[in-house]
């Protein structure tokens, strides 16, 4: 039991920048923690705040949402909308008692493999520090 706690992170990556950035990190053999479950979405603006809630309910210890840099969005303004919405979601989650270290958002472009590594390291480190998420996780009842 001396093993370190390994957090589960759910990452929502935008198809055009962050997913490609993560891909670049992979092809350039950059090592980064493997605690991440990447979910490709077409745009960070597509991430419904209820996705985040659902991820946390179903056992994620942290959530990362990553998209293009402001102004670089493939759909012109999707990430601006995401920034506004998810910023407020972060406030709300913190207010209902979710550790702010469990929720991160980042801008990673397709050429930033090394930034991606840093972002993942920071996310995993924070989620590890926050510990297993027990809050409003869905509990299975064994009948």
């Amino acid at each position: 039991m001396s093993q370190q706690f390994e957090p589960n992170i759910v990452a929502f990556l935008c198809n055009w920048c962050s997913y490609a950035g993560a891909d670049l990190a992979g092809t350039s053999r950059v090592r980064y923690p493997a605690n991440l479950q990447a979910i490709r979405v077409m745009c960070s603006g597509r991430v419904n705040p209820l996705y985040v809630m659902n991820a946390l309910q179903q056992g994620a210890d942290g959530v990362l949402i990553s998209g293009c840099h402001p102004g670089d969005c493939h759909y012109m303004e999707g990430n601006f909308h995401a920034r506004r919405r998810l910023g407020m979601l972060k406030e709300l989650l913190e207010f209902v008692g979710v550790d702010p270290r469990r929720f991160h958002m980042s801008w990673v472009s397709a050429s930033e493999g090394h930034k991606w590594k840093e972002v993942v390291e920071k996310t995993v480190e924070d989620a590890r520090a926050a510990g297993p998420f027990e809050g409003f996780r869905r509990r299975r009842i064994d009948w």
Partner: protein, 326 residues
Amino acid sequence: MDLDKLRKTAAEVVSRDDVKYLIGWRPGSYGYRVAPGFVEEASAAETLIFSPLCTINLATYLTLTEKLPLPRGSAPDQRKVALMVKGCDSRAVLQLLVEKGIRRDQVLLIGCPCPGVVDTALLSLKYPETESPADLKWNGDHFLLRQDGQETAIPRLSVLAEKCRLCRYPNPVISDITLGEPVEAQLTAEDSAVAEVEAMELGARAAYWEEWFSRCLRCYACRNSCPLCYCRDCVLDRLNPTWVNRAVNFSENTAFHVARAFHLVGRCIECGECERVCPANIPLGRLNRKLAREVREQYGHEPGIDPDGKPFQAGFKPDDPEEFIL
């Protein structure tokens, strides 16, 4: 507020050709209760009242109207609905207009400047409710309660609703006919309830909300009474995809309350209806007011004020705050 004038105006409005009916307040069946009154004929306007007991936000009824399919060949009824609004209610109507939930030519607003309504639950706790109908009046820094032939003066602040203690817009921000004189905004308290929750440690805050959310019955009264929750197809009702499971437990309740509060980000006009109707007394107003404050402070946006404004979540500014982004 002159009741005769109110009733006369209401009767006049209802007799107009372009008005379908008027929604106002009328005494409820007992004690402090006040019910919404749907007035279709001028003679029925005699039942209308406006008193500190009129807590109901009538703007909800604008979007609750059932739209039955029309018989072939008949034209839809284009007449207006007249609505009596307090300051907070008028903001709800304005926000509905901004969101294009209703059209301006569909409503006729009768504005009632409001010096603050009572918290009925608090009132009946301190001054037990009896069967006979009661009458409450504004009188400076007191409410005058008349019931069973007795008259009692109640200190204003002891029974004033929480939303009214924080009220910044007591006068209707939009109205076609205004009754009575405008009242002065009297912010009598800072939002200490939100600050109290914010001051807690993270774990204590989680425990605080766990206690409240676990009590939730999922009756959806907060959603149904909210003037701004009017989607025909609500995510909370959907089964495919099931955004929020229907099980009543802490996990799903939290998802429900976060979803509800989130859908009101930048739209909530702080009328306090959700909190008032909650059978479990969950302090939902705190969630809404916290988010409303963040929207106001971080983004400088206030819903239900600017008729030419844009809905908060439907827009953005290139220089929106992004300190939280890695």
